[in-house]
């Protein structure tokens, strides 16, 4: 599903901005990153809330599993559910936007480095909004602004490349990966009634 959404958004961009090949090549990386963001947002309501509602988080706590471990496991699982597929979908996605092999390589690198951070952010936001009414919209409102640094540097790596943006993208991604289990854990504990 996330892959289908990703390709759909990638396919919409040429229709939206016109078939100017040079323009598409310039914005292609950024467009693919927006597609990746919206694809990562899709399953957010199912990341934490079903487990909270069904008492699974409570039972895990009673069985001695720390919420941080639950958060880390959910990040790994969420990344596996969309990360590798998105990297594969970047091939047809780049074709839809008319990107050549060099820009495609940069897109692949930026997705590989950035999607773990995106997965981490998604799980943290899912934990923060679990159990709240209209959680889906809230999650979107929370995720998209917080994903902006990742988007900026990810798009920069996809577009112009270079060591600077890559190092910054990696830094943002690693920070999100490191912090998210603790944020998600605190959110899961706070959501307990």
């Amino acid at each position: 599903m996330p892959v289908a959404f990703f390709l759909l958004v990638a396919a919409l961009v040429p229709f939206a901005v016109g078939p100017d090949a040079r323009l598409l090549e310039r914005i292609g990386g950024g467009a693919l990153w927006i597609a990746a963001l919206t694809a990562a947002l899709l399953p957010i309501e199912r990341l934490v809330e079903p487990d909270r509602a069904d008492g699974v988080l409570d039972q895990l706590r009673l069985h001695g599993v720390a919420e941080e471990s639950i958060g880390a496991a959910k990040i790994a699982g969420h990344w596996l559910s969309f990360g590798p597929l998105l990297v594969l979908a970047a091939f047809p996605g780049a074709a839809l936007l008319g990107l050549g092999p060099e820009p495609l390589k940069r897109v692949l690198v930026s997705l590989l480095v950035g999607t773990p951070g995106l997965a981490a952010l998604s799980v943290a936001v899912a934990a923060l909004t679990a159990g709240l009414p209209r959680a889906g919209s809230l999650a979107g409102l929370l995720l998209l602004p917080l994903a902006v640094p990742l988007l900026i540097f990810g798009a920069a790596v996809s577009g112009t490349g270079g060591e600077g943006p890559l190092a910054l993208e990696a830094a943002v991604s690693i920070t999100l990966l490191a912090a998210s289990p603790f944020v998600a854990a605190a959110a899961m504990r706070a959501a307990r009634t």
């Binding site: 509602a53 069904d54 008492g55 699974v56 409570d58 039972q59 706590r61 009673l62 069985h63 009634t193």
Partner: protein
């Protein structure tokens, strides 16, 4: 024999309302407490407090061992067969499933269980956990006579092995239970 559970001066507030305060309770091996009281007096809250899923507004809770909880939530993967779903929580669930009369349902997907069978599954998880302290929130809800009888046998065996339990129930639970009434 050291206590399995000790509550000292525990108070509980939910939604800004103070449910109870100054609660003292000590549970040793083999003891059982029957929690009663009107609706919304704090029975489930007390159970969650003891389980560590809720923080007390005041007071101190000491637990010496692991706990097992059976409440409203099923917490079993709906797509898995019952046996596998229970084994996710405890590797050795066969004995507990047999004790609750679920042995023949091991291959049935959890989503196909009836409400009463799901109730038994929650109790089977508690039995399989081998925890010394059991917390049961309305365990008899939805159980037929056979299920209630099996639960009683499981509780007797648990207490004889040195375990303790707290059960909140509107229905009578048999002999040999200490009574604790909330909401007076």
């Amino acid at each position: 024999m050291s206590a399995l559970l000790r509550l000292s001066g525990v108070a509980c507030a939910r939604g800004g309302r103070l449910l109870f305060k100054g609660l003292d309770l000590e549970l040793g091996p083999g003891e059982a407490v029957h929690l009663t009281g009107p609706n919304a007096c704090g029975k489930s809250s007390l159970i969650r407090l003891v389980a560590g899923l809720l923080r007390p507004a005041a007071g101190h809770i000491e637990r010496s061992e692991r706990l097992a909880l059976a409440d409203e939530d099923l917490a079993l993967d709906r797509e898995l067969p019952l046996g596998r779903a229970l084994r996710f929580w405890n590797a050795d669930s066969n004995g507990a499933m047999a004790a609750m009369g679920l042995a023949g349902l091991a291959e049935v997907p959890v989503r196909l269980l009836s409400a009463g069978q799901a109730r038994r599954a929650r109790l089977a998880r508690v039995i399989a956990s081998a925890s010394p302290l059991w917390l049961l929130d309305e365990p008899l809800n939805g159980l037929d006579a056979d299920g209630a009888e099996r639960l009683e046998q499981a509780i007797i065996g648990h207490r004889q092995a040195g375990g303790a339990l707290i059960a909140a129930s509107h229905q009578p639970l048999g002999k040999g239970w200490r009574q604790l009434e909330l909401g007076r």
